[in-house]
């Protein structure tokens, strides 16, 4: 990995340089919260944002996207071009970069590559930025507090300047042209270690560090704990809507008002949606909130690990904030701790 250092005052020039060739997406204020949105000037960006309501996943897997248009009268596909806007996501936290890396494993799996996802992902540069954990963050427990791959640049704030990890030639060229990147000194490296230590010490200590989570998920599969969580669930799917790694989708044909043409759309779906596991004939394989909540936690903390060797949960804490019923992986970790795990 190549490292360079730039001054904080150089950031606007960096963003403006990206704006010349890309649509720049960055964290902005949305009411009392924050969201990733398109920006047209550096001043709109809130780089010290705690977290966003949903993640930058929406730019590679949109909540609703048209896969193709069709002519219903002649039963023909009329248009299937993926419209791809070259984008820079500026200011992604490490958890979200790790989330994108997990999504890549799913949608860029060589056995069934997803051309829509691939086209968007391929046209997107990721500029990461260091952060300070919020009280609902537990990325360090999911090994997602550092991004080792999956970014074009990663900016680590080391006090008035940034240590920049360079992940791609394209981004390096923009950095070189817009800023005056210099070699990192010993002083910079010491500041980097201090910043890293400070972040590591800032996590909410009330969130228990539990070992062998996946094994415990299997051990407590039938525990009454899941009935209690299920009894609280509102069946709203907010957890999945804000999750940076939930990738399940539904496909629906939508006719236009003329009844002659239509669109085949991919729409985010959620295993916590009551109808998710319902099949033809009406049988529902997960017909209770208990079973649906448990299933979601299993995929996040157990199932994905078995197939992809990493937790699907990144500990970003979004579902912790989104769930009005206080159902989240943190509750699961606390349950394991109570059990003496």
């Amino acid at each position: 990995m190549l490292y360079r250092v730039i001054d904080s005052q150089e950031l606007p020039a960096l963003v403006e340089a990206f704006m010349e060739d890309y649509e720049v997406i960055a964290p902005v204020e949305s009411g009392a919260s924050y969201a990733f949105e398109k920006v047209t000037s550096f001043d709109e960006i809130k780089l010290d944002y705690p977290t966003t309501i949903t993640s930058c996943k929406k730019y590679v897997l949109p909540p609703r996207e048209t896969l193709f248009k069709f002519d219903a009268l002649n039963n023909e596909v009329t248009d299937f071009t993926v419209k791809v806007t070259p984008r820079v996501i500026f200011g992604a936290h490490a958890c979200d970069i790790n989330a994108l890396n997990s999504l890549d494993m799913v949608f860029e799996d060589s056995r069934y590559r997803d051309p829509y996802y691939e086209a968007r992902r391929g046209a997107t540069l990721i500029i990461g930025i260091s952060c300070t954990p919020t009280e609902s963050c537990f990325c360090h427990l999911m090994e997602a507090d550092e991004a080792r791959t999956g970014y074009d640049l990663f900016l680590q704030d080391i006090g008035g300047r940034y240590l920049v990890s360079i992940g791609s030639v394209t981004a390096a060229n923009v950095l070189e042209s817009a800023c005056n990147p210099r070699e990192a000194t010993d002083e910079d490296r010491i500041a980097f270690r201090q910043a890293t230590r400070k972040r590591q010490e800032s996590f909410n200590e009330e969130i228990p560090d539990v070992q062998e989570i996946a094994m415990l998920m299997d051990a407590f599969h039938s525990d009454p704990f899941w009935d209690e969580l299920g009894s609280r669930c509102l069946a709203c799917t907010a957890c999945s809507s804000v999750c940076p790694t939930c990738f399940c989708f539904d496909i629906a044909d939508t006719l236009g008002p003329d009844g002659k043409t239509g669109r085949r759309e991919r729409i985010w779906d959620a295993c916590t949606s009551p109808q998710f596991a319902m099949v033809t004939g009406g049988h529902n394989f997960r017909d209770s909130n208990r079973n649906r909540v448990r299933h979601r936690m299993y995929h996040k903390l157990n199932g994905f690990l078995a197939t992809h060797d990493r937790m699907l949960c990144t500990g970003c804490g979004r579902c912790v904030r989104a769930c009005k019923a206080h159902i989240s992986p943190i509750e699961v970790l606390k349950f394991f701790e109570e059990k003496g795990a």
Binding site: L255, G259, A270
Partner: protein, 255 residues
């Protein structure tokens, strides 16, 4: 030229019961598509546009409003016998909506409004019910008012077919996708916690809390939602009152 895929334009009657007629008006608001709509159906009756009586022959009956009189009850039975498809249009038809607020302690309400003698013009009044309580309904177009696109989709369902199920999740998931923040964080009451999804959380997206016009989700966890609202500083009485706005009849039946 045929306006439908099957070459058959269904005869459609649009009928209004107890309601503000706003949902029928929403149909006229889809101006860019009205001519296309009339190309796809044969509109044989529309109370809003003509005072001609309901004809004998139609395929699809679109019914707006709650059933609040014996006369409306008879109308619905007659409509159901003639139509192969009955579509409930809007909150009043689907949940009894605003007229339904009168359902609990109905006789007391009658007394308050009319005294001892209900005027003849009001008809033979009965406690308000959604049309699904008096005849089988084939599809429901929810909300107050309806989204005209949902109305078109409902017609298409029976003209060309569809296997889409009505959504049963509650609203917060759709709302989160709009990324506008949560009313409960601001100490405001929002009925999205228990209201059926499908509208795209349109009101919260425009800065107004959900008033529950899509009706209770069949999966609504009302007890848990009530506790959550209380935790957020919303009193139980306020939550219960808000819940009654569009769900009085269902709550009366013991939701």
């Amino acid at each position: 030229m045929s306006g439908t895929l099957h070459g058959k334009r269904p005869k459609v009657a649009i009928i209004g019961l107890a309601s503000c007629f706003g949902c029928q008006l929403q149909i006229t608001n889809m101006e860019p598509h009205l001519l296309s709509l009339l190309d796809q159906i044969e509109l044989v009756h529309w109370q809003l546009a003509s005072s001609d009586p309901l004809p004998e022959d139609f395929d699809i009956a679109v019914v707006e409003g709650a059933v609040t009189t014996k006369e409306a009850l008879e109308t619905m039975r007659r409509v159901r016998r003639r139509a192969s498809v009955v579509i409930a249009l809007g909150a009043c038809a689907v949940t009894a909506g605003i007229p339904g607020i009168a359902a609990p302690e109905f006789d007391d309400h009658l007394q308050t409004v009319y005294g001892t003698q209900v005027p003849q013009a009001a008809g033979n009044v009965i406690s308000p019910v959604p049309i699904s309580q008096v005849v089988p309904v084939d599809w429901e177009v929810r909300c107050c008012p309806i989204d005209p696109a949902d109305f078109m989709a409902a017609l298409h369902r029976f003209i060309v077919g569809s296997n889409k199920l009505p959504s049963t999740a509650t609203l917060c998931g759709e709302c989160k996708r709009n990324e506008r923040g949560c009313f409960y964080g601001r100490g405001q009451l929002c009925m999205g916690l228990v209201t059926r999804a499908g509208c795209g959380a349109r009101c919260p997206n425009l800065g107004r809390a959900c008033n529950g016009c899509a009706g209770l989700s069949p999966q609504a966890n009302v007890a848990a939602a009530r506790r959550m609202a209380q935790d957020a500083g919303i009193g139980e009485a306020r939550f219960n009152t808000a819940l009654q706005l569009f769900n009085s009849v269902e709550l009366q039946a013991g939701a």
